[in-house]
Every structure is written in structure tokens, then in C-alpha cells.
């Protein structure tokens, strides 16, 4: 253990302090033992006189007597022996010379006492007792001085007064060695004891130095901690506080230690503080709370105060330890951040509102055009040239609607609000065939060969059919767009493994260079489109497609061997089992034209209302148009309807409230037909009781399919 402490001390550079403590301790022992001997010397002197007075008070000459020589010897020789060492303990306390003079004097006192008692053997024990007392110095060297005196005393008296020491008239010189030998015999063990004591003292010094070092480290940590620290006594007064806390609350250390935490706590937080203190005393080991302090200058600061109860070794509460961190700035920052966040959210809501309004305003005028063009394109008996013109009108309106949809979708993707309307299993092959039909005319115009190789046996996936179709349509439109005239486009499906559906759309078009390839799925990225029409898209399709595929749990990737070497887009989706054939047949709605409905159409855009009314009536439905909420309510009160087809933004109200009222009053079912296509709008219409939400512009087929489904 001592070695470990030594190593620790050396590694910490505290050996000097340990040495200093050792020397201090040793010096203290020297001084205290000096004092002991000062008293002992005086006592021995008095004792010697008393002994002389008792044993040999007077010398007799016949009948007369006079003071015995021993009396004078005890007074003067005893005084001479004692006084000088006593003076040394005053003049040179703790010095080695004092110790050695005391050792010599103590042995000389033994000589005197032995002589005064007539050489009694019992008095010789004074020598051995003195050696033991001298070992109190824990300095073995004084034993050497004492032993030398003993030896010289015996040696000299053995020569000049042998009887006084050995009881014989002549003694061998070795007799003094023999006597000294017994003294040395005792010395050996006393020296061992001294050395052990020195080792223990050094060990204690090392331990003390280590403790001091540790205490100093902890005190430094406490004093210089970057957070406020305080020790609070059970009397609720600060016992110790560090500089950081003083600086935090603006009080000096003296001021703070004369106060209680409650005195510098905000009034509203005092009760909470007291409750937490009670919790600490009862069972809670630690409390952490945000509270307010009152600075000396009256300013309020926020702080996180962590406190615990320190207990002694018997588990009794001793004091509290509190750590206080100033979080005023953090609080201010949090408030500012919250305000900024609220501001951003307000701006975001304003933007969404604007986008919704923009979408509505942009879509609404397109609706009558699209519906009219689509209807007229299918009108039998018109000239082919006129049919092509109507077709051109329809496609361009659809393209315009698609661009608006893409912008809205991109907004949804960026906000993570793109949602799927998941229905039953979707036949991907059917969707591909439908998409192929849509783009076939475009392909034909560019003399592109469009091949479908639908080899996948498992071709049903779970998801939103419209969105999946949107992906396919994007991929096909891209392939047509970036493949020069005379090129070839191949759509291929397969099942690499059971449950996995892979679709590739490959072309031999302009391809994608390696620098652009990693960014093709980023919004507004179209790569180098030189040689193409400048208005050939916004570059949003792939970005939206990627988001849609990933929402379906699939992946989409692009590959290209480089510029002019075509491109391959691959979509991977998980398959599901299709519905049984019988169920499909049973769930198929009645064919268009087989059913006639009583419809209430509410639309404030006059052209749209007119076209919609006309087309629905042409299909055999009984239609009542209304341009306002009030008109709609009047018609509903006067007539019976199967469905209401309503816009949301109306001059005297909104379609949401209208639907709720019609549903409550007449049990009427409805379809929302609106330019508002944001996720929030869809949620609102669903909540209001609309069975479907159609976003303008729509073509008439789309409306018809929804009517079939709603029925």
C-alpha cells in the first residue's frame, strides 16, 4: 500500500509536500519530547535532592552531625546536569544538539541517582528507562549518544573507582563492554522501533500529502467549475459557494454565505424549492429543476439547479450540494427560436394557402376547356381534322394540369405530406397499358417504336393506382421526350424473385452523362437538354416519381452508358396477390350510361358549371346547377338528389359546410370537385363527408368513374 502511495505521489509530483509534512511532524515530535525532558529533568533534580535528604541527610561525627555531602551533590551536580538541557529546550527547541545534550544529561542523571542510592541495583533501571524515554524522539542517533555516555561512565569508573560501579576493587576493562552490551541490547530494539516509527511517519506524511492533493484538486474543481456550485447546510444557509455562482447572482462570497437560497430565489419559485428540499430529505436522491434567481441588481436569471443530499457514513443528512447553470441566454434563444418557428409556420401556412388558391385559380378555368374538349373529341360525326384539334386542346390542357399537379406534388414531397390513397391490389400491367395508350400518339408523332414486354407473372402491387400511374406516365413521357425521332422505347416487366416486381423503361435516346446521372432525381434537374424544345417540362417528374415509389416501399434508379447511348429507368416494387376473378367481376360498377343519377352540381365558375351541367345531362343524368350555397340549399330542399358535386370555394360559403349540412339534413352523398388539391384539403373534404375529392381540371371520364365507384 505504501509503495502504491509513493508511486502515486511521485507521479503527481507531491513528494516535496510529503517530505515537508514529514519534517513538520518530526520537528513537532522533537519539540514535544524536548518539553517532556525539560519537565523530567526538573523532576529528576528534585527527586535526587529528595532521595539524598531521605537516604543520607547528614553525616555524623559522634554525637554531632552536619549536612551530608550527598545533599550538596544532589543540589549542585543535579542542578548542573539538569539546568543546561532545560535551557537548551528553550534556546534550541527541536534541534539535534538539544536532543543529544538531553541524552547525555539523562545518562549523567542516572550516574548521580545510582550514586545517591548507594549503587542500588534498582536505580540502574533508570538507565534503561531513560533509553526508552529517549526513544520518544524517534531519533535513533540520541540512543548512540546515551550509550556512549553509559560506556564512558563505566569505563572511566572501572579504571578509577571500580567498586563504585562493579562492586569490586579491580575490574576487567571488558566489564564496561559487558555493561554497555546490555544497553546496546536494548538499543537494538529501540532503534528498530524508531526506524519503524519513522517509516510510519513517512507513510502518514505521504498519505496526508496525497489527501491534501486530492482535497486541493477537488477544491480547485469546486472553485473554478464553469457552473455555479454551492454547499448548503441543513440550516438552509449557504456554507460554501464558488466564484461562478457569486458572479451569476452578483453577490460576494461573504454576502452569499450569510444568505439562504430562498433569499435569492424568485418569489414564484420559492414554494417549489421548498418542496424539492423536502423530497431530497425524504427519498429523492437528486432533483433537477429550472428556476429563477434574483440577482443582487434585481435582474431575474434562469438557471438549471441540480441538487443532491450529502449524507455521512451513518446515512445522516450532512448538507446539500447544488450545481447551478445559467440558462438565461438559452431561454432567450429558445423564445426567439419559438417565435421564429411560429413565424416560419405562419409563413408556411400562408404559402400553402397561396399555393392552394393558386392551384384553384389555375385549375378552375381549365376544367370547362378540358371537359368540353374531351367531350367534343369523342363526339361522333365531327370531322377528323376537328377531332385532332379537340385532341390537341385536351392534351395541352392535361399537360397544363399536370404541370400544376407536379408543382403541388413537389410542395407535398418537400413537406413530407405526399399521401397515398391506397386501394386494393393494382394491376400494374393494366396501368402500363393505359399509360401506353395515353402516350402512344406522342410516340407515333416522333416515329418512336414503343414496345411493351410485360413478362411478369406477378404484376399486382398494393398502393395508390393514380400515383403509380403517374410514375409510369412520367417515365414514358421522359423516354419519348429524350429519344430522337426514329428511336425505340421498350417497357419490360419481370419478377426476378417471388414477390418482387421490376419494371424497366429503356430507350436509345440522348442518354445521361455520368456527371448528371446522380442528380436526375433531384427537382428541376434535366441535365443537358440542348436540341430539345425549351418548354419541354419543369424537371419535376422524376423527383416526384422517386418520392411516390419510395412511399410504396420500392426503389427507382437510372442507368445510362453515357451521352447518346440511351437510358434505363428501373422501378422495383413488392407484389401482392390479386383479388379473385369473381370478386373483381362482382365489384365492377355498372357500365357508363346504364344508370341515371339525380345530381346537384354546385359551382361558382359559370363556364365550368355550364359545361359540367351540359355534359352530365348528355349522359342521361338529371342535373340541377347551383352557383351559390344558398341556391344549392334551396334546390336540395325542393328536390331529391342522389349525389351532390360541389366546388369548395363558393361566394356565400364553402363546400365543406354545405356538404355537412346536406349530409345531415338529407343524407346526401357528395363528390368534391375543386381546384384545392393539398393534403389538408383532402382531409377536410373527407371529414365533411365527401366520398371523393377530384382536383380540377378533370375530364369527364374521370368524373364518371368516380360516380360509378361512389354508387
Amino acid at each position: 500500500m505504501s509503495e502504491i502511495v509513493e508511486q502515486s505521489l511521485q507521479s503527481n509530483g507531491w513528494t516535496n509536500r510529503a517530505d515537508e509534512l514529514f519534517q513538520q511532524h518530526r520537528q513537532e515530535i522533537y519539540r514535544k519530547t524536548d518539553q517532556l525532558f525539560a519537565w523530567l529533568m526538573a523532576f529528576q533534580w528534585v527527586a535526587a535532592i529528595m532521595i539524598a535528604m531521605i537516604i543520607s541527610p547528614r553525616t555524623w561525627v559522634g554525637q554531632s552531625s552536619y549536612v551530608h555531602t550527598h545533599i550538596w551533590a544532589s543540589i549542585f551536580i543535579g542542578g548542573a546536569i539538569s539546568l543546561f538541557p532545560i535551557w537548551m529546550t528553550r534556546a534550541w527547541p527541536g534541534s539535534a544538539l538539544t536532543r543529544h545534550i538531553i541524552a547525555v544529561a539523562q545518562m549523567l542523571m542516572s550516574v548521580l541517582l545510582i550514586d545517591l542510592t548507594g549503587g542500588r541495583i534498582e536505580t540502574h533501571f533508570h538507565v534503561f528507562g531513560s533509553l526508552v524515554i529517549l526513544s520518544f524522539y524517534r531519533d535513533w542517533r540520541v540512543l548512540i549518544s546515551a550509550t556512549i555516555v553509559v560506556y564512558l561512565d563505566h569505563f572511566l569508573r572501572g579504571i578509577y573507582w571500580p567498586y563504585s560501579v562493579y562492586g569490586v576493587l579491580s575490574a576487567s576493562p571488558w566489564r564496561s563492554v559487558e555493561h554497555a552490551g546490555w544497553v546496546i541490547f536494548e538499543d537494538v530494539f529501540l532503534v528498530i522501533s524508531c526506524l519503524r516509527s519513522i517509516r510510519e511517519m513517512r507513510f502518514v506524511a505521504n498519505r496526508t500529502a496525497a489527501l491534501e492533493s486530492s482535497e486541493q484538486n477537488f477544491r480547485q474543481i469546486f472553485e473554478e467549475a464553469p457552473i455555479g456550485m454551492a454547499v448548503v447546510g441543513l440550516d438552509s444557509h449557504y456554507a460554501w459557494v464558488n466564484a461562478t455562482l457569486c458572479s451569476m447572482v452578483g453577490y460576494s462570497e461573504e454576502e452569499l454565505t450569510s444568505r439562504t437560497p430562498s433569499e435569492i430565489t424568485h418569489l414564484d419559485d420559492i414554494d417549489m424549492d421548498k418542496q424539492l428540499t423536502q423530497h431530497l430529505l425524504s427519498e429523492t436522491t437528486r432533483t433537477c429543476v429550472e428556476k429563477r434567481y434574483l440577482r443582487k441588481d434585481g435582474e431575474i436569471i434562469w438557471a438549471t439547479r441540480t441538487a443532491c443530499l450529502m449524507r455521512d457514513e451513518n446515512g445522516r443528512p450532512r448538507h446539500y450540494l447544488a450545481m447551478v447553470e445559467d440558462i438565461t441566454q438559452r431561454k432567450k434563444d429558445a423564445v426567439a427560436l419559438e417565435e421564429a418557428k411560429n413565424e416560419a409556420e405562419r409563413a408556411n401556412r400562408a404559402k400553402d394557402k397561396f399555393l392552394a388558391a393558386l392551384s384553384h385559380e389555375l385549375r378552375t378555368p381549365l376544367t370547362p376547356v378540358l371537359m368540353s374538349a374531351a367531350a367534343l373529341e369523342k363526339e361522333p360525326g365531327i370531322k377528323p381534322e376537328l377531332r385532332r384539334q379537340f385532341g390537341m386542346m385536351r392534351r395541352n390542357v392535361e399537360l397544363e394540369a399536370r404541370l400544376i399537379d407536379d408543382l403541388l406534388d413537389l410542395t407535398r414531397v418537400s413537406h413530407g405530406k405526399l399521401q397515398l390513397l391506397v386501394s386494393g391490389p393494382i394491376d400494374v400491367h393494366s396501368l402500363l397499358a393505359h399509360s401506353e395508350q395515353i402516350v402512344r400518339s406522342d410516340a407515333r408523332k416522333k416515329s418512336l417504336a414503343l414496345h411493351l414486354e410485360l413478362t411478369a407473372n406477378e404484376h399486382h402491387v398494393a398502393g395508390d393506382a393514380a400515383r403509380i400511374n403517374q410514375v409510369f406516365w412520367n417515365l414514358l413521357k421522359n423516354a419519348i421526350k429524350f429519344t430522337p425521332a426514329g428511336g425505340q422505347i421498350t417497357v419490360w416487366t419481370a419478377n426476378p424473385t417471388q414477390g418482387q416486381f421490376v419494371l424497366t423503361v429503356s430507350d436509345n435516346g440522348i442518354g445521361i452523362d455520368q456527371e448528371t446521372l446522380p442528380f436526375v432525381f433531384r427537382a428541376f434537374e434535366q441535365g443537358d437538354v440542348r436540341g430539345l424544345q425549351p418548354c419541354s417540362g419543369l424537371g419535376l417528374g422524376l423527383s416526384i416519381s422517386k418520392a411516390i415509389v419510395e412511399l410504396h416501399g420500392g426503389t427507382i434508379r437510372a442507368e445510362s452508358a453515357g451521352r447518346g447511348r440511351g437510358a434505363v429507368f428501373t422501378v422495383e416494387l413488392g407484389t401482392v396477390l390479386p383479388f379473385p376473378e369473381a370478386q373483381i367481376q362482382a365489384s365492377q360498377p355498372p357500365r357508363f350510361g346504364d344508370v341515371s343519377y339525380r345530381l346537384l352540381v354546385v359551382e361558382d365558375h359559370e363556364p365550368t358549371l355550364a359545361v359540367l351541367t351540359r355534359l352530365l345531362r348528355c349522359q342521361g343524368h338529371e342535373v340541377m346547377p347551383a352557383a351559390t350555397v344558398q341556391r344549392a340549399l334551396t334546390l336540395a330542399a325542393d328536390h331529391t338528389f342522389d349525389f351532390v358535386i360541389s366546388d369548395l370555394g363558393l361566394p356565400d360559403g364553402n363546400g365543406i359546410d354545405l356538404m355537412m349540412q346536406l349530409s345531415n339534413d338529407y343524407g346526401l352523398r357528395g363528390i368534391a370537385l375543386t381546384g384545392y388539391g393539398m393534403a389538408e384539403d383532402l382531409a377536410k373534404t373527407e371529414q365533411a363527408g365527401f366520398l371523393a375529392h377530384l382536383v380540377k381540371p378533370i375530364n369527364f371520364d374521370q368524373l364518371h368513374r368516380v360516380l360509378e365507384q361512389c354508387n
Partner: protein, 226 residues
């Protein structure tokens, strides 16, 4: 400037003193010298004093015919003349006790304590007298005005004489060899040898004790100095 009083070990830094204590150091040195000399002189004086024997008078070679003490004829008789208040004679009485114990009745002993005729009552009633009386085979008698002491030529307390059964003096002297110090000694061994019929190393030794006869302190010290 530092002064080193004593260099025993490298760590004993307490020896170094400041210049302001220079005078103390000088006083210490002078006192140390005086102390050494004084103590040595004192011890030498006391030891010299204690090694000085007392006066011995004219010791008769035969048992004094005028003595009132009864001499035994069947065994040797030992006579010790003692001062009842002499502190040094304690050692002599103690040695007498040793002798009597070792000789086991082979000798009969008297201790004659000085009893001045004009002394107060209880003059002899001392611890020394009681110690002597407690020794088996020892008879304690009073020696009024030291008459018997003068008959036996004893002038110093503790003077011991051994006479054979025919009254011839065998030994004269002290049975301690240092003032007031008990212990093995020549006189003791001589007495034991003589009683046991052996030849002693010496038949006379010095006597250490107080003076039995009245004389001045100056005379007494002068006698001791001789």
C-alpha cells in the same frame, strides 16, 4: 549566513540557525563547555569523596579483657561498631546480613551502636538498629559513650572485627569498599574465608562510614582527606 551546530545527517536541517541567534549560539557554546566541566568536576568530587575511607584506631590483637561483651568460646565472634544514624553504615549492616546468612551460625555477631550518655531518648531507635537486630545470629548492644569502640580501636562506623574462639583477632576493617555502597567486597570474603578455616586474601581493609568519636566537622573532613 548559516551556522552548523552539528552535522549528523543530511536531513537535520534544524541545526542551521539565523544570524540573529548568533549570541544565543555563543552562550550555548560557553554554557556547554561550563556544563561539561562542571558536571565532570562534580561527579569526580563525589566519587572521590565516597572512595575515601574513615579513620582506624589502635586495634587490639586479642579480645580486650576489659570488654563487657561476652565472647563465645565455641565459635568465632564478630564485632561491628556502628553509628546508629550513619547513612553509610546501612551498606555495612546489609553486608553483615549477607555474611551471617552465608555462614549459617558458624559465627556469633554483635553490633554495638554508639550511645552517647547524654543523648536523647530514642537515639538508637533507628532503622539501622532495627535492621541489624533483625539479622539472625546478631546481637545488638549499646555502646555507651563509645567505650567498647575505643576498646576495640574502632573510630569509624562499620568497623568490623573477627575474633576466633580463643579471642585472637582474625580480621579488622570494613565490609564495604565504597562509602555507602553495598556489594561483594574483600572484607566480607575475608571473614567468610577465616570462619570456614581458609586463608583470606587480606585480614585488614578500609572502613567507610561516619566517625564514632566526637570531633569537629573540620577535623572529620581532614581525616577523610588523608
Amino acid at each position: 549566513m548559516e551556522y552548523s551546530l552539528l552535522q549528523i545527517g543530511p536531513r537535520l536541517r534544524s541545526f542551521s540557525v539565523q544570524p540573529r541567534r548568533k549570541e544565543t549560539l555563543l552562550v550555548t557554546t560557553l554554557l556547554g563547555i561550563a556544563w561539561t566541566a562542571g558536571v565532570a568536576f562534580g561527579l569526580r568530587t563525589i566519587l572521590s569523596y565516597e572512595s575515601k575511607p574513615g579513620k582506624i584506631g589502635a586495634v587490639p590483637s586479642k579480645w580486650p579483657a576489659t570488654s563487657q561483651i561476652e565472647r563465645l568460646t565455641n565459635r568465632p565472634t564478630l564485632i561491628m561498631l556502628a553509628h546508629p544514624r550513619c547513612p553509610c553504615t546501612r551498606a555495612s549492616v546489609a553486608e553483615l546480613g549477607q555474611i551471617m546468612a552465608r555462614l549459617q551460625g558458624k559465627v556469633y555477631a554483635y553490633v554495638l551502636f554508639l550511645h552517647p550518655a547524654q543523648s536523647n531518648a530514642g537515639w538508637e531507635d533507628t532503622g539501622l538498629q532495627r535492621s541489624a537486630a533483625a539479622i539472625p545470629g546478631v546481637a545488638v548492644r549499646s555502646d555507651v559513650d563509645g567505650v567498647e569502640a575505643r576498646r576495640f580501636g574502632a573510630e569509624t562506623s562499620g568497623h568490623t572485627l573477627l575474633f576466633d574462639r580463643d579471642g585472637r583477632l582474625l580480621f579488622s576493617g570494613g565490609i564495604t569498599e565504597f562509602r555507602g555502597h553495598a556489594g561483594d567486597n574483600t572484607g566480607e570474603r575475608a571473614i567468610e574465608s577465616l570462619v570456614n578455616g581458609q586463608a583470606p586474601a587480606r585480614t585488614a581493609t578500609s572502613v567507610f562510614g561516619c566517625a564514632l568519636a566526637n570531633r569537629s566537622q573540620k577535623e572529620d573532613r581532614a581525616l577523610c582527606q588523608k
